[in-house]
Symmetry: C2
Subunit: 743 residues, 2 copies
Amino acid sequence: MMANEDPCLSVGSAKRASVLEKGACVSSKFAASHNETSQTKSHPLGPIAAHEIIQSAALIRSCWPDGEECRFKMLTLLEPQKAELLPYLTAERAGQVPEYNIDRRVFVVYSIRGTHNVHEAVVNLTTGKVESNAKLGPFMHPNTDAEEVLAVEKAALEHPDVRAELEKLKLPSGAVVVSDPWIYGSDGVNEGKFFDDRRLMHCFLYMRDPNNPSEPDGCHYSFPLPVVPVVDPATLELIRIDILPTGLDEKVRPLSPWKPVPANEYIPEAQEEMRGDVKPLRVVQPEGTSFTVENYSELGRLIRWQKWEFKVGYNQREGMVLYDVHYDDKPLFYRLSLSDMCIPYGDPRHPFHRKAAFDLGDVGAGVMANNLKLGCDCLGSIYYIDGLLADTHGRPVVMPNVICVHEQDAGILWKHVNYRTSRAVVVRNRELVLQTILTVSNYEYILAWIFNTAGDITYEAKATGILSTQPVDLELTKTPHPFGTVVHPGVLGGYHQHFFSLRVDPMVAGPGNAIVYDEAVALPRDPILNPHGVGYTTHRTEIETSGGYDLDPGKSRTFKIINPSVRNSVNGAAVGYKLMVPPMQPILADADSFHFKRAEFADHSIYVTRYAEGELYAGGRYTNQSRGGEGVRSWANRKDSLAGGDPVVWIQFGINHIPRVEDFPVMPVETLRVMLRPVNFFDRNPAIDVPSSRQEINCSVAVDGSGTSLESAVRGMSLGGDGEERGLTTAAGASRDSPCVCP
Amino acid sequence: MMANEDPCLSVGSAKRASVLEKGACVSSKFAASHNETSQTKSHPLGPIAAHEIIQSAALIRSCWPDGEECRFKMLTLLEPQKAELLPYLTAERAGQVPEYNIDRRVFVVYSIRGTHNVHEAVVNLTTGKVESNAKLGPFMHPNTDAEEVLAVEKAALEHPDVRAELEKLKLPSGAVVVSDPWIYGSDGVNEGKFFDDRRLMHCFLYMRDPNNPSEPDGCHYSFPLPVVPVVDPATLELIRIDILPTGLDEKVRPLSPWKPVPANEYIPEAQEEMRGDVKPLRVVQPEGTSFTVENYSELGRLIRWQKWEFKVGYNQREGMVLYDVHYDDKPLFYRLSLSDMCIPYGDPRHPFHRKAAFDLGDVGAGVMANNLKLGCDCLGSIYYIDGLLADTHGRPVVMPNVICVHEQDAGILWKHVNYRTSRAVVVRNRELVLQTILTVSNYEYILAWIFNTAGDITYEAKATGILSTQPVDLELTKTPHPFGTVVHPGVLGGYHQHFFSLRVDPMVAGPGNAIVYDEAVALPRDPILNPHGVGYTTHRTEIETSGGYDLDPGKSRTFKIINPSVRNSVNGAAVGYKLMVPPMQPILADADSFHFKRAEFADHSIYVTRYAEGELYAGGRYTNQSRGGEGVRSWANRKDSLAGGDPVVWIQFGINHIPRVEDFPVMPVETLRVMLRPVNFFDRNPAIDVPSSRQEINCSVAVDGSGTSLESAVRGMSLGGDGEERGLTTAAGASRDSPCVCP
């Protein structure tokens, strides 16, 4: 279908949506029905509600003649512009009920079912109008969805040509073949020709354990097969079948009969023996939690904990989003979110060279979030937040328990002992955790925002789940492989990089922030000032234009978000927050490669851009088969002046995953942490007023060597008798039965 | 006293101890009394016992005429040579009772009280002989001790010259002056002349809050004074008084009257308001702990937990030491310890240029360990280990609760959800923690070895406590300072670096280990193999000679300890453990400086040496006023071949501490972690047999927005009603009242 056949398409750019003349596609009914509820429920940052999904879908459908069926790919809140939202939030904090003058908008991406005819639209629920509705131009493809994935799996496995190829493997009778459809990373081949621009998926095939094929949770990744059907997810046509190279080079050999290998399962009932000696460990909060949660909208949650206050939203693309983050009524962050992810693989051989997943843009963190279970995914007293998304039919779908909120003890936060009096003052590090867990086909990401009582915010990413495996010739099992690690006989875990991009939209001590980095530099020898060559000082560099920047641990280079117009009351320094970022190896794909072009954030640990509306996703809005040119690197390359005082910081971190045998059949977490920490923001340790750690409160238990409880008063017999009896003196402050005297 | 006046001094090197002709200084009585107990109690790795301290001190005293009083500086187990200990440990593991054929030796450093006449001796308790006893040569000084520190404080504060200087400050009436004696870092000035080689301490003076001078736990670091007495700790003579520069340059102004500044206290009763909303959070282990503890000697502890088995020793210098670490009966590490620490300051001005503490060598981790309190320093079910040390009179002193042993939950260890069945398998990360906390005058270090169920060992160092402050002119409070951060009016927190050196003596899969590092490298473009420029592979470098090596995150450089003679049963790779080390800024003091020469480990993240007896401390045995040439850099510079297969790895990590106002009056922890992680050591995920996380065991609680408990079956009303009622569909596997179905 051509653009001009589109009843709702406005003239103008076909590449980006453009505004319709007012009045088009109005539905006064919906506009009315909306108005009934808006006063009571809507907040500009409230995640899209059920009635809003229904209304938006209906408005889009009303743009099309009957018989054209819309398939909704993305139907989510379009957040208001900062210019109108900021005053609203300020008024709200001032306790005024802001006059509701911000139109409620929804961003919609949809296709005409069964076609590649994809549109991007903006629906204004306040006016009941479709404000824009345009067909996507070339090289812009929507995300996939669960319904599509399952359909592609089915189409691939049932196609006679695929069955014919599988026949050649002479799989054991009763073998169950499983398909993992993957996003088809663009490689730029046939650039511009329709075929190459067509949205495709390729399916990596596996087999369940042939000796236990009826187990639906068997680890099929232990049995990868060399046949890869390529399917058009819109039409479900089989495009072609790729055969995998299974040797040490790029050569593809004719398919030969499958050779038996043992299973390698992760489900407990399949293990020969489970450990029986892990005793229960429970987190108990007899007085409940220290946090409270309110609804700031039907689905938005306002959390208050230990001087922290922030709003939690949820959407299809990013999943959990934090807004309007304050500490002790001081503004810190306007918006915090995981902006993007990219996982490029290092195997250069066709078709592995197309493995480069952008899990947020290609699928969506909100869609992939787990339904977290009490006592499994989180320990202690848990508050769960549900998500609400639209399905492909434009119907609301509840996503229960996508975020768990709970407190944890993280050891000691600060301590000092005066050696003259032996008095200890100990304060423990209580943390508030907001955790969400994504399942991306084979893989899992455990993502959490963690707050503490000292003004620190930590973003923690844990990588777990199962490697995306590929077959390797059985006889090569003990031969080093150039592109991966053999993790099981005939099974290769390919090398790959993980890149995360955290978007930090700051308002540290209010608007007008600047980004700087400080370094520690040795002083030159000087007979007067530095005669012994031990002196060093710090040097500050202000980032004046948008761009990509690197860490330099050798210089203690530390990036900071500062507010030059707000000074620390003690030392007069500009108040700020520093970014503590683990160094990463930048993307190894070369600068001319499509992996590099598409992963616009994977080459620098820090990107700084000037705030611009709509620039939320480091890899661009449409990452699926993207060609680059739409993400943070492109925005940074504008070399915008940051003098305006509205910078956005993009923090990249990740791992180069060289698999270990220990990472199979399921990998122990690889943990990464980014910390946002106050620097001369407060006038002293902000946790100085946290009550000391006390046994009366903590009720810990002293145990003997068998691990069973002792009376704490008589503990310390570990010397085999009371020291004094044996003429031993005891160190100062060390009386063995002394009560807990921390406070 | 000259060397030749020493009744026990052998001929030969005066710089190092040498063996006496047999028979000298024998005491058959002690030899006999020892034999009674050795069979029953002694283990070659058993920390020195009370009777052994008493016996050793008596043997040393017997070398001296009556009237000469020995002051014991160090009296600790001299561990057997690896060559004789390794077979012993092997036999022990094989269940044989090893024939006791290893002599029990004690290493002693002592002085003749009131003099600088210091000796180093080795006592053989098995033979009852002093095997060596030699006077220390020039530039070698013993550690300080608590008794000495308190005496120096007193001497400094009571000296009329010091009082006269303090008079000039016109402190408020009733002011209480407090002294922090510091090790006097050598600066090489007057090198070789007696004065400069004399062991000295300088005392930084502070004042308690003049408005509350009777509070012994007031934070005197808020009131630093510019007068610094220099004292000889042996004779308690006042050597001179240094006056501190308090401006921006090196100039020292005449002392002027003290100007009032507010207090800044950390003790809770001094706070205006404490938080009242931190609800209790308890760790409860109803069935006790999963670990057991046995005595392998009178004071040595053998710990078994989750397939881990290791011995815990304790000594004056290193504090906690781990020996003979095995997992699932597989050998991993012969010995693990924190080997050294150095904290050089960056203020080049006299006398700050001498601030470079070596806390282990100058004082001793074992001596400075806190008496940990139940419910304060550790949460849950705790086993405490006591230490036993010698005082300066050669008497045993019990150090209660210097190590706490407990389990903790560290979130999720691994998880996978099969999106086709929605079945989740979740295993939590249970950890075993051995924690010890050091108080070094103003500062605290929280140090822990952490084990998990996946074969990982983490060493965690948390820095907290109080900055060693110095005075800065009150009118400069809001002026940026080149050498520190003003943290309180008139109070400067000087820039300083923290270096930790971890000594790892490996036996990964047995003897014959090698050290390598792997890097990930991009493949060149190649029309056949890498046509799209996305390929990369790994490259291994074997370390063949001892030396210092650096990290390179940009190449994902990863150091590994491997055993070339033991191959992974799955992929045939040499089994190994990788070192996950946070990058650090190397020491900023220049290569000609004494800070650099003395901190022999602070210039490289990794040092590798060939195992040599007695090489335990990265900064050398005598760090106090050391001149360098005795530590790991010097040993590494031997360029020993590592072909012998007995490497020792020294891991350096640290922070460049640029103080924040938030770090005062006591700093929130700065946390560093080093991880030792199996790489192709096991044949699969070693935690695959850990039971799944289950609500029946964990008994977590779902709460509502007020933080109070909900029935888990009716939770999830956060949408304001049951979804279905409102025509909402629910995502797969999301039924809201589903029980915990992880297993």
